[in-house]
């Protein structure tokens, strides 16, 4: 088929550009799978010990909502539960990023025109991007399976974990392939693809915490498919066939859409706009808000839904609270004086805070995006000072994340208070109290941007480290000082427990210092192009 001509060279080009990223991602995934399993086996040398410890976990709704049900009451089952969630999200994000990067981003930047004028078929860029993404998730799956086998657990379960990663990655590659045909912008494609991913996560979480027949709804979500491979439990390797089928259908849809649009365009045409700027678009802050409001609206919708979902789970949490084992464990998590429900809400809200930090980092990184695209130069050649320009985007990042915490706290509070004994004010307060940690992430991003602009994207690496410290720190028995490196470790135990006032003030001080370092660094350096 000549429409596929050039796929090979394009794939080699993509590999040449991304090989280090791909290698690092695959190794990190396999390393995570290995270390969590090894640490769990260390903690529970026998299945009997694991079963005793895991019983509490299996019935804890906050764990089920995040990670899905425990595959089995064995040491390996406990050792893999977090890896299943992280592995499926890893597969999905990797596939999304790679497919989008080598299709829509290339078209939007105009680089594809350079390549497309050569002997390159219409389908070739999409084919090359999908092949790279699939190759990467398959490699991550294989290596993770091998890594698990290295800890001495059984082969079928290990292969099943690899299958989890591949299932999520395959379907997300298909979803992204369709999304990049629909809109003409990279951001628009991200909105659609990540929206589908978010929906899949919410459906899965709701189905997993539902009672009775509602649990089968998990099959509506491709993250649910990945989870139900159930390594070291059901070991349903056949789910891979389901994923292959769905991916095939999605790719056919993408292919049909591809043949109905022009290069550079989306299926949804770009519209014209106003000939004059509204009065609000007359300052640096006005510009930053205009550039970022679309993404904040998307996040707001997502956070409102997540808040309602989390809040409405409060009812089922209340019901299980009668189990003394869980009550004891959750009490410990909440600092000793909160209720089971408080502990559940506190855990969930802390994850929302990490999400809000991701928003804050993305919003602050707009600074770097504007700078390297050359658009910052146009603004700073006007009477806009550097400080004003920097603070415009930082303001959107800081207040935008506060807004998201307000939204999720309000929605979760309303839903929880109306279905259970939770207090609206306490939930909202707990959500807002995480803001200093989010602000630290924004501050660190600005510090990187001001002092080491070329590596600004490392801000994402920092967030990943903070997340991993929170998730795996206890299992890996990290020393306290290392746990303390994560700003999310200093939030106290809200709602219900005590707020860590010294911690919160400390976070604010760190955040302000980092912001100052970043702003001062930027004032002293050249504007890069």
């Amino acid at each position: 088929m000549t429409s596929l001509a050039g796929t090979g060279p394009l794939l080699r080009l993509a590999w040449r550009r991304d090989r280090w990223l791909v290698l690092v991602l695959v190794l990190v995934m396999a390393g995570l799978a290995y270390s969590t399993m090894a640490a769990t086996l260390d903690l529970y040398p026998t299945d009997a010990e694991a079963a005793a410890g895991a019983k509490v976990m299996a019935e804890n709704p906050s764990i089920t909502a995040l990670y899905g049900p425990l595959p089995s009451l064995t040491a390996a089952g406990v050792g893999v539960i977090k890896t299943v969630m992280m592995g499926s999200l890893f597969g999905a994000f990797t596939a999304f990023a790679l497919v989008r990067r080598h299709t829509r981003s290339e078209e939007e930047e105009g680089r594809f025109e350079l390549v497309g004028a050569g002997v390159v078929g219409r389908r070739a860029p999409l084919a090359a991007a999908v092949l790279l993404a699939v190759g990467t998730v398959v490699a991550a799956g294989l290596l993770s399976a091998l890594a698990l086998m290295g800890t001495g657990v059984d082969t079928t379960g290990s292969v099943a974990l690899g299958t989890v990663i591949v299932v999520a990655g395959l379907v997300m590659a298909g979803v992204t392939a369709v999304a990049v045909q629909l809109t003409s912008t990279t951001r628009g494609a991200a909105g659609i693809a990540l929206g589908v991913l978010g929906l899949a996560f919410v459906i899965r979480a709701m189905a997993d915490t539902a009672t009775g027949g509602g649990r089968h709804l998990v099959w509506l979500s491709f993250l649910g498919w990945a989870e139900r491979v159930s390594p070291f439990g059901g070991n349903r390797l056949w789910v891979l066939l389901l994923a292959l089928g769905a991916t095939g259908v999605l790719l056919v849809v993408a292919d049909v859409l591809l043949h109905h649009r022009d290069l550079g365009a989306g299926l949804w045409a770009a519209r014209t706009g106003p000939a004059r700027a509204k009065p609000a678009l007359g300052s640096a802050v006005g510009l930053a808000w205009r550039l970022q409001r679309g993404s904040l609206i998307g996040w707001t919708i997502g956070y409102a839904v997540l808040g309602l979902v989390v809040g409405s789970m409060a009812k089922s949490v209340d019901q299980i609270a009668s189990n003394p084992g869980i009550e004891d464990m959750l009490r410990k998590m909440s600092g000793g004086n909160g209720s089971v429900l408080d502990a559940f809400l506190g855990t969930e809200l802390r994850f929302m805070a990490v999400g809000a930090a991701a928003y804050g980092i993305a919003a602050a990184l707009r600074l770097r995006g504007e700078e390297s695209a050359g658009r910052a130069e146009a603004v700073m050649a006007t009477a806009t000072s550097r400080w004003r320009w920097v603070s415009s985007h930082v303001l959107v990042a800081a207040l935008g994340s506060l807004w998201l915490l307000l939204v999720v706290g309000t929605c979760a509070g309303v839903a929880a208070a109306s279905t259970s004994g939770a207090s609206f004010g306490a939930v909202l307060g707990a959500a807002l109290s995480t803001w200093p940690a989010v602000l630290v992430c924004v501050g660190l991003t600005l510090a990187l941007f001001g002092v080491l602009p070329r590596v600004s994207l490392l801000a994402w690496g920092l967030l990943a480290v903070f997340l991993l410290i929170g998730e795996l720190g206890a299992i890996l028995k990290l020393p306290d000082w290392m746990m303390g490196l994560s700003p999310f470790d200093h939030l106290g135990h809200l709602p219900g427990g005590d707020a860590d006032l010294a911690g919160l003030v400390g976070l604010l001080v760190v955040a302000l210092a980092a912001l100052e370092v970043g702003a001062a660094g930027f004032r002293r350096r050249d504007v890069a192009t």
């Binding site: 939007e108 003409s184 912008t185 770009a270 519209r271 014209t272 706009g273 106003p274 000939a275 004059r276 700027a277 678009l281 007359g282 300052s283 640096a284 006005g286 510009l287 205009r290 550039l291 679309g294 695209a373 050359g374 658009r375 130069e377 146009a378 603004v379 700073m380 050649a381 006007t382 009477a383 806009t384 000072s385 550097r386 002293r524 350096r525 050249d526 504007v527």
Partner: protein, 310 residues
Amino acid sequence: MAPVIEATGLIKKFGSTTALDGLDLRVDEGEVHGFLGPNGAGKSTTIRVLLGLLRSDGGTVSLLGRDPWADATELHRQLAYVPGDVVLWHNLTGGEVIDLLGRLRGGLDEGKRGKLLEAFDLDPTKKGRSYSKGNRQKVALVAALASDVPLLVLDEPTSGLDPLMENVFLEQLAQVRAEGRTVLLSSHILSEVEQAADRVSIIRAGRVVDSGSLADLRHLTRTSVEATLTSPPHVTDVERWPGVQAARQDRDRFVLSVDTSSVGEVLRRLDTHGIAAITCQPPTLEELFLSQYRDELATADDAPKEEVRA
């Protein structure tokens, strides 16, 4: 009168590469100053230093009597800038960008805005991502020209414009000059600078190698004389005439490169051999430019100097 732009011994390094190597530049009030040089000579770097976007590593620079790094914000109220590579926000329309940049600078002339949109035939309702390169350039030009600022800094403003629009731009530039405003016009398009500029600075490898009015610069160079003679002399004799730098013979047709100050003498001598046809061309800016550039090639490659001019 204090110069609007004055730079002396400007140095800018990026790592181990030296982008500006002791650059001197002076632009007086009310003049259109051509800033001419090949790609990579340091034109855009100079402009970015003048705008306070880059910090110089040495030398002094002043813009309207102030320091462009320390007083950037205040200075920027008094200037408008068109970057060499115009990048627009994908989801803002051209009209919005023009208004935004105008407001960020401190206001723009509504009457001029409308006239310029018409003159450049620009649709302000299109989104940034759907403009072609030439149209993006027009957006930046309208935004800059619609201002009332005393200084315009234009970095290769016509790149991407078609010849028709290039003429529109030159007309607008003449208007700006008539209003007594100062313009720094960087370009590698020689005819454009030749038409528009009062004075020219030629930059090469981070230094200004020549600066002056076009008339000044022409004195330094040679006139091309092309003559068809009825009784042609021997070409080796012609080469020995005073002021003749190079001569080439093609049967009865001679092409000479003559020091501009010796043109009269050479014409008298040619006349003794019977002139059937003659054309004299003053040096174009292109030739100024080539002669500067050739020196650079010669020193760089150590190649034998060859007369390539015809």
